[in-house]
Amino acid sequence: MKHGSYMAALAALALTGSLAVTAANAESFPSKSVELVIPFAQGGGTDQVGRIFAEYAERHLGGDIFVSNRTGGSGAVGFSHGANAEADGHVITMVVTTLAAAPHTIDGYPVSYKDFEPVCLLSAPPAVLAVHPESGIDSLTALVEKAKAEPGELTFGTAGPGSNTHLTGAAFATQADIDISFVPHKGSGPALTAAYGKHIDVAIADKAEVTPWHNDNRLEVLTVFTDDPKAGIDGVPLATDEGYSVDIGSFRGIGAPKGTSPEAMEVLIDACRSTAEDPDFIAHMERTGTEPYVLFGEEFGSWLQNKHEAFGEAAKAADM
């Protein structure tokens, strides 16, 4: 009897103890430094946004954030690491365009949006078409006419096979019923440089990347692939206004491993929200040419699912 009550007391103690531990864990997230996985190399656009985010989010998360570039496999190495990390919120990942495109374009790509809990979307610049100011092509209509007159002759520089810029071009070409040649580059930067050097006719790039080139007239933007006038560029017609509906711009957001506890997700989402509202963060992002475009939690989740499907359609158009 005495013995039994002793055991019961011990069990109760253990139970409350473990409960207390769980509660403490939930309350104390983050209990150690948070790792922000960037699946691409130092110095790229994703790296830049990731590092700016980490810098400001630290203030709002109440804990250290360290950035780790886990590169390789067209993002597969980093995404897989982030998706397979312990689901306690201490490893978060930059969830970017490649995660929506690669599952459709690379055989055996091991991850997709389904492997992540959506934390927040940070930016979603649409794709644009840009030409050299002396190219003689001054509108989308002129471009389509030229492409029809010389099938297969016009060269379109993209950020590489299966990138959103390539898929945008393919979807556009299908809708316009034109035959063009894609010239893959190692990222949009080199594609823009090639257009500026007149080595290719047209560059397809993200609006954020092309804005500085457009602003000082080094390149002329012909169209912006969005149906949201707020996301456009002043004085540049939207592709939807000319009858083309292509909506697979690039995006950058934050995800946590699937199955992360609701408590940790809440802390992460709150930190993301405060960061996205931080005027210093917004100003910093805008200085680098990226306007914040923000969604949180489940709202970001369904947005991500739509993107995944849109990229699937475009990949079919690109015959990948």
């Binding site: 130092q42 110095g43 496999g73 040649s181 190692k186 050097g197 080094r218 200085r287």
Partner: protein
């Protein structure tokens, strides 16, 4: 000119000078550690510059950049391990000279050459930035293809005694380079379903493994045998005759490095390779290259540091980042609300001249640190091998891992080490393998792009600029034949 003077007076202000010195020193340390490249050093520092004044932030990054490219030569010369990919060519002659008991002189030559190359490219940046930028802009896929093939022919220069063995090593490198997803059509090759191999094999762990592991194994072999001679570093500055002999090589490599650095997409690694192989072809003593030639060190080091100034040319004048390092710098400029490009000189002329002055001073700081620190650096050689060897091993593991935070890279590093050990034992040169690995994907990508832009017409690959480079590619192979032919004709003329 007054703007430049004003620039110097601002950069020489104590606080900024201290910051720049700190950045250069930090860069030297980062560059000398295998696996921590100039790109990584600059990327790690860049968030810290967000809150600085624009000039301070930009010059910090430039200081780290110049320091890291120079620092790569320290471990190359002292330990036979290139600290950065740009120092692979330096390893050949620098380590050989160091083993001949002259590590101080080797460091001295590397320092003087780096500084001269850096200053030459800074002068080009100040005086000829716009014409050079226009020229660099003319480099499309066809010109770049020719340039990369030109660099690939350096395998002949880096092969040491046996060209066939060098070619074999080069092909291994090209094969390794073909692993992963190709950048033209997205086809994946040779990864056998392993995600880790999908992204291809990074050349940093291969370089570390290939060069560092054999050294550690060889030092273990030496244990219990004759004690290693303790090297005393007395001289740093080489004699006047050596200085006179290497000056033409330094100047030529400085020009090559500046131009290659200015071409978008090419960096200090390609600059050093091209500089070294041209140096060997032009040298009066080509047979000494690879055996501890002062000229060899001069060619590689002058070219790789000249590429730093060269890469700033398209960045500042056209707003085009030529590579990863200048891409990070572009981000830093924009963070401070500055847009590099043709308008920067108009809207922010004082800042541009302050940057010019800063790059110049950063190179002078390399001279100060290099000459005053060489004796200290060379003390590494006095550390007993029982401590030095495990320390190097540890640094290798850290370096291989840090590149991509990928444990597989550590395994790749050790595997490359075993291969490297066998290569040393059977006399196959290792540098050509690295050349193949670095240049393989570039050759493939540029060829694909060239053919797409040319509409599949192979003859269209020969543009005016690319034709000149193609001539340079075949010159070393054809020239001896022509000379033979002329001699033969002369002979037969005499006999008639």
């Amino acid at each position: 000119m007054s703007l430049l003077m004003e620039g110097f007076s601002i950069v020489l202000e104590m606080r900024l000078l201290l910051l720049l010195s700190g950045a250069v020193a930090l860069g030297i340390v980062a560059g000398s550690m295998p696996g921590i490249s100039a790109t990584m050093g600059v990327a790690l520092l860049s968030p810290l510059t967000f809150t600085m004044e624009p000039l301070h932030g930009i010059l910090s990054l430039i200081g780290v950049y110049c320091g890291a490219v120079y620092g790569g030569s320290l471990s190359a010369i002292l330990l036979g391990i290139p600290g950065t990919p740009g120092a692979v060519a330096t390893t050949l002659d620098g380590y050989a000279m160091s083993r001949q008991g002259k590590p101080g002189i080797a460091l001295g030559i590397a320092t003087l050459s780096s500084v001269l190359g850096g200053i030459l490219s800074t002068a080009a940046l100040m005086l000829l930035a716009y014409p050079i930028a226009e020229f660099a802009l003319a480099f499309g896929p066809r010109e770049y293809l020719a340039l990369v093939v030109f660099a690939l022919t350096a395998i002949t220069a880096l092969s040491g005694g046996s060209f066939l063995k060098g070619l074999f090593a080069g092909f291994i490198g090209l094969f390794l380079a073909s692993i992963g997803i190709d950048e033209t059509y997205g086809v994946s090759r040779y990864h056998f379903g392993y995600v880790m191999l999908m992204g291809g094999i990074s050349f940093i762990p291969i370089t570390i493994g290939l060069f560092a592991i054999p050294e550690t194994l060889l030092s273990i072999e030496r244990i219990g045998r004759a004690p290693r001679q303790v090297l005393r570093v007395n001289r740093i500055i080489p004699g006047r005759s050596v200085l006179a002999r290497i000056l033409p090589a330094q100047l030529r490599s400085g020009v090559i490095g500046t131009i290659v650095g200015a071409v978008p997409g090419a960096g200090s690694d390609i600059a050093a390779i091209v500089g070294y192989s041209q140096g060997k072809h032009m040298s009066r003593n080509p047979e000494r290259f690879g055996t501890g030639s002062a000229e060899g060190i001069a060619c590689a080091e002058s070219a790789n540091n000249a590429a730093t100034g060269g890469s700033l040319i398209p960045l500042l004048t056209l707003g085009i980042p030529g590579g990863a390092v200048t891409a990070i710098m572009l981000g830093t400029f924009m963070t401070h609300g500055l847009q590099p490009g043709p308008l920067l000189l108009q809207s922010n002329a004082p800042l541009v001249y302050q940057i010019f002055a800063g790059v110049f001073i950063a190179n002078l700081l390399l001279l100060v640190f290099g000459l005053s620190g060489s004796k200290l650096f060379a003390r590494v050689l006095q550390i007993p091998e029982s401590i030095l060897t495990p320390t190097i091993l540890l640094l290798c593991v850290v370096g291989a891992f840090a590149m991509r935070n990928n444990p597989v890279d550590v395994l790749i590093m050790f595997a490359a080490g075993m291969v490297g050990y066998i290569m040393v034992k059977i006399g196959i040169p290792r540098a050509p393998l690295i050349i193949g690995l670095i240049l393989g994907p570039m050759v493939e990508g540029e060829l694909a792009r060239s053919l797409i832009v040319a509409g599949g017409d192979w003859w269209a690959l020969f543009t005016p600029i690319s034709s000149v480079i193609w001539l340079l590619v075949i010159a070393p192979f054809v020239a001896p034949l022509i000379m033979k032919g002329i001699r033969y004709l002369k002979q037969s003329y005499k006999t008639i």
